[in-house]
Amino acid sequence: MLLVLCGLDDTSALWFARRATQSGADCTIVTTEALSFARQFSHRLDGGAVRTAVRLADGTSLTDHDIGGVLNRAVQPPTAAWQLAAPAERDYAAMELHACTLSWLHALPGPVRNRPEPDCLAGPLRHPFVTVAAAHAAGLPCPQVSFGTAGAGRGESLDPAEALLLASARAAGPRARPVHLVCLDGVVLGCQPPEPVAAAIAAFAVRIGAGAALLGLDFLAGPDGWWFAGTSPLPDLRAGGDALVQALLTRLAPAQVAPPAQVAPPAQVAAPVPS
C-alpha cells in the first residue's frame, strides 16, 4: 500500500493520490483528522525493534507490513478529536500525539517522503536565516535579510520568513512574479529554472539537510533574474506535474529503495566500575 498521509484540506496531496491511483498504484489516503479518531494506536519499542499498528474508525489497518511507501504531508499531529477540550488538556494531548506520530513515521521500514524531523512532522523545515546562509553558500541568488527590533518602527513583520520574502521582493523589483519549484532529492521536476539557479539547487538542498527530501522552493522572478524567497517541506505537488508523480512513485516503491537505517540490537556493554 502507498499511504498518502495529509490534512483534510491538502488539495495538493489529494491531486497526487488521484494521479497515483490512475497510474495503477494501490494508494490509500489517510487524513490526520481520520487518524485522530483512530480506534487503535499501538506502538512498541522492544530490543531495538519498533512495531506499530493503527486501526482507523472505518476499519482500515495500517501496520508496518501493510505500508509500502508513504507520502507524508502531516504538518500537524492528529488532534482533531481534542479541538473542544480545555486548552491545557488539548495542549498536552497535542504534544503527546506529536511525539507518537514522529516516532511512528520515523520508524517505518519503507520509503517515506518526507520522513519527519523532531521540529516538523512534514520534514526538513529550517530557520529562514539558515536557508539564507545556505543559499548564499550554494550560489543561489539571494538578498541580504535584516530582522530585529529596528524593523518595528517600519511596521515590518514579526516573522523572519516574511522578512526574507520582503527582501526578495525588494531585490526582484515591482514587476516580479512568484515562482514555486518542487525539488525531489535535489532535482527540480516540472520546470527548468534558469542559471545560476538550476546549478545551485542540489547543493542548496544538501546544505539544509534536504538532499533526500521533497522540498518546495519559492523565488521571485524579476527582470534581472530569480531571487530566493523561502522553502517549505510541503510543496505544491501540482507544480511538478507528471514528472514528479512518476519520480515519487519510483522513490516510494519499496523494492526500489534501500530500507532506512534500522535500529541495531543494543551492544551488551559491561557495567561501569564504581570509582
Partner: protein, 312 residues
Amino acid sequence: MTVLLWGVPTEPPMAMVAGQLAELGADVLVVRPGGIGQQADVTIGAALSGTIRAAGRSVELDGVTGAYLRPVEPELVPELAGQPATAMAHARRVQEALTGFTEAAPGANGCRVANRLSAMASNGSKPYQAQVIARHGFSSPDTLITTEPDEVLDFAARHQQVVYKSCSGIRSIVTAFDPVADAGRLPRLRWCPVQFQERVMGPDVRVHVVGEQVFAVIVDSAAVDYRYARSQVGTDARLRAYRLDDDIAARCVALAAALDLPFAGIDLKLAADQRVVCFEVNPSPGFSWYESSTGLPIARAVARWLLGPGAK
C-alpha cells in the same frame, strides 16, 4: 570575543556558567528573556552581522563566539505582565532575532552554541529519541505506547513492574502502574495513547556531556522517580560522582553529537542484568543540583567549551 548568555540570570545553571565565565575573564553579555529596553538586530547574507543591546551596552554579533541558551517564552516572563501589547511584541521580536542568530551562527561564523533551539526538539518525542539511542548501542526499556487497555494489562503481566510517563517533552512524574488500582482509568487511553515501560531496577546515572567531556553522577534512591524521592519514599536521593567505563563515555559523547547537542544530560540506568539502559537525552540540563551535590565541575566545563579550544 563575547559569550552570550540568553536566559534568566538568577536561574542556577545560568548563574553558575556566568560565574565560571567571569572567573575565566570572559566578556559576557546577558540577555534576559522579555527584558525591557533590550534590542537585537541581525543581518544575514554572505556573512552574519548585527547588534545586540542589553545590560546597558551594545555588542556586535560578529564578535559573539559562544552562546549558552536557556530562554523562556516572553509570554511567561512576569515583568511583561500588564505591560502594553507593544512591549510584548518588542520582546517577541528580540526573541525571534536571537533565535535566528543562534540557529545560523554555528554554520555562518563558527559560533559555539549550547544548544540550538532546533536541536532541543528531539526531546519532544521520547520514543523517537529511543530509536536514536538504540543506534548508539544502549538498551532501551521495553516500551508500549497504546490506546488499548487490554494491551497494557498484557504488557504488565509480562513485566514484574511497569511505569507510565509522558512520551513528549512535557515533564511528568514517573509513576508505577498498578493493574488493579489503575484499571478503572484504563478506558481513558482511548482518547490519547499513553507510554508504559518496564521498570528497570538498578541505580540511575546522570551523565552530563560537555563537548567531548563527560561528568557522571550515580544516584542512590529507592524512588521510582528519584527527582521526587522525598515525596515518593520520604528521603532525598543521594548523589555522588561516578567514573564511567570509557566505552560508555564514548557512546554518550557520540549520542549527544548525533543529536547536535554540545551540552546534554543523559539518563542511564545500570540494570542488574548488565544492560546499560538509556531513557532519554535532556537538551537543556538543569545540572546545578548534580554539581552542587558532587562538586563535579560541570559549569566550568560549559564555560570553557563556550570559550573554545584556546580557553584555559
